[in-house]
Symmetry: none
Subunit: 215 residues, 2 copies
């Protein structure tokens, strides 16, 4: 794994500790060097400080995700304001730990990250010319921003998360609405709403089976 931090003492302690835990550790002491290594080599996980010389941690994560690198990233920071944490996660980091932290907890969180299926998704969903940002709750079609209501957004997000697959109406009811509930044609109505705002071709109907958004 890769550890990026500018406090030499901390880095040394982490390297020794993580090595003892059985990890192979590379280190970098600033953002640019860390970004270079992370892009170059294929790590299993990255521990990344936020306050860094030459590109801060947020920038590094943003650039990594933009470059298609999906390696799990654990951010490390002294800043524990709720928006610091939320911003860090929303740019594409997978976990956030505030200094000072317990080494035991760090290792447990790293193990949790490594358990996850290898491919981690980018922070923003993109399918065809549709772009949806779950954190900002915004949607754009072919670069043009589109205003959606909450339910419309939830429906579109689920469809995009399962793009290139037919999604049944019952499945949509279960995940986008509450429980297996009543009958009715809510799903069809909301697909109609989305089509009016996004264009008819955005969502394909598969008669007798459900709907599909394709790349």
């Amino acid at each position: 794994m890769l550890v990026v931090d500018d406090e030499r003492g901390l880095v040394d302690a982490l390297r020794r500790g993580l090595t003892a835990e059985g990890f192979a550790v590379d280190v970098a002491y600033d953002g640019a060097a860390g970004l270079g290594l992370a892009t170059d080599r294929d790590y299993d996980a990255i521990v990344l400080d936020v306050m860094l010389p030459r590109r801060n941690g947020y920038d590094v994560v943003t650039d990594l995700r933009a470059a298609g690198v999906t390696t799990p990233v654990l951010l490390l920071s002294a800043k524990d304001g709720e928006h610091d944490v939320a911003d860090g996660l929303d740019v594409g980091a997978d976990d956030y730990l505030t200094k000072p932290f317990s080494f035991v907890v760090l290792v447990a969180r790293i193990r949790a990250l490594l358990r996850r299926p290898p491919q981690v998704r980018p922070a923003v969903l993109a399918v065809g010319d549709l772009v949806l940002d779950p954190a900002a709750r915004t949607v754009a079609r072919a670069g043009e921003p589109v205003e959606l209501t909450g339910r419309e957004l939830a429906l579109l997000e689920y469809l995009m998360r399962h793009a290139d697959r037919v999604v049944g109406k019952v499945e949509l009811r279960d995940h986008v609405w509450d429980g297996p509930g009543e009958d009715g044609n809510v799903v069809e109505v909301y697909v109609g709403y989305l089509r009016r705002k996004l264009g008819r071709e955005a969502i394909a109907t598969v008669r007798g089976a459900g709907y599909r958004v394709a790349g």
Copy 2:
């Protein structure tokens, strides 16, 4: 998603807040009920308190993982000892948040969990220059996409699953249509439809025996 906690006030606040964020929320007030729901239904994520009546959070996660349920779990607890956190993560939870917590951070962490890919898609059927994707319900001939109706697709799928073999009409009636049913020439009609869309050579006739699609 599913929220499991025994403090009614907190649960209500979470349900309202998460619903406003566009999630569909189920709730349970004790461990056994939560485990039941989580096993039964297919949630996108679970928020789970550790201190619960009737099975604590650790037990619930352990049982879920043992049952093969891989839904992401975020543990919630007032206990912030380093070993509490590490234990929670090590039994299979994906994240751990200590009370009191910021709602903004909770939502950001949930979104980070949801970035996990939903599940791996098994495979597509390929015979000759025909490609059929059962999940997407799409068919392509020589790279060109072809639109098929439900019955046409079911018929083609059965033929492709038994490629390089002669498949009798009665067998097709039994498997693609319901029961041994009536007489008539449905099969021949639908083979005709397929040939019109895929090209005459796609399906060969074996006079007196049935049909065959070959590699």
